[in-house]
């Protein structure tokens, strides 16, 4: 059974700092998704990572996937308040054909 763990679950950052959110998963998979959820809103897709070594960047966020280590990272560069949200990773169960299994989410708060 695939388990997906994110850490940290809560992250309070100062503006301008860098930090990394980790998403570990327990069985082989080569597809992983990152989502963002603003308070009171639904989930929006951020990144789709489809192979080992995949790296995607948008603005101050960069996501990468290491399928051998069963690890994805979401790196935040020079955080700004607008990045405050909850970030979820989701991993495809059964390698590449199954359903998505979501992590519990990382609640990020960026303070001035």
């Amino acid at each position: 059974e695939l388990k997906v763990e994110q850490n940290p679950l809560f992250l309070s950052m100062q503006e301008g700092k860098n930090y990394t959110i980790y998403c570990n998963y327990s069985t082989t998979s080569d597809r992983l998704y990152w989502y963002r959820q603003d308070p009171g809103k639904s989930l929006e897709s951020l990144f789709v990572l489809l192979s080992n070594g995949a790296v995607k960047q948008e603005g101050r966020l960069m996501a990468s996937l290491d399928t051998k280590a069963r690890l994805s990272t979401l790196h935040i560069t020079a955080a700004v308040h607008d990045l405050s949200a909850t970030y979820f990773c989701a991993v495809v169960e059964g390698g590449s054909q199954g359903n998505l299994i979501f992590g519990k989410g990382t609640k990020l708060s960026v303070k001035p």
Binding site: K41, S42, L43, S45, G98, N99
Partner: protein, 112 residues
């Protein structure tokens, strides 16, 4: 753009009432999903459907049923609502099971 809509943003019902939550997607997606989201528990899959009239139980199907009579529409039914079903309900759709899921705006259900 993929659009997933849900019938209500907020709903208040009484214990024992039958509750219908409806979800419609406009991208001809094969798969549709119902999740509930509670603080500290992340997203939990209730049911999903991979084709018209086909359904599969997720992690927490007890107390819920679903209906998919048309490809674009997926309904979640609470046969007899209880207070522990107070939650945020999120609908999602995807082309293939392992593809990125697109989420609706969510329905916040309160059962009194």
């Amino acid at each position: 753009d993929v659009k997933v809509t849900q019938s209500s943003r907020y709903l208040v019902k009484r214990t024992g009432e039958k509750v219908f939550l409806e979800c419609v997607q406009d991208m001809d997606h094969e798969n549709m999903f119902w999740y509930r989201q509670d603080p500290g528990l992340g997203l939990r899959l209730i049911y999903f459907s991979y084709d018209v009239k086909m359904k599969e139980k997720g992690d927490i199907p007890e107390g819920y049923s679903v209906s998919r009579e048309k490809k674009e529409r997926f309904s979640l039914i609470l046969e007899s609502a209880s207070t522990n079903q107070t939650s945020m309900y999120l609908c999602a759709s995807s082309y293939r099971l392992y593809n990125e899921q697109f989420f609706g705006p969510g329905t916040r259900l309160t059962v009194l």
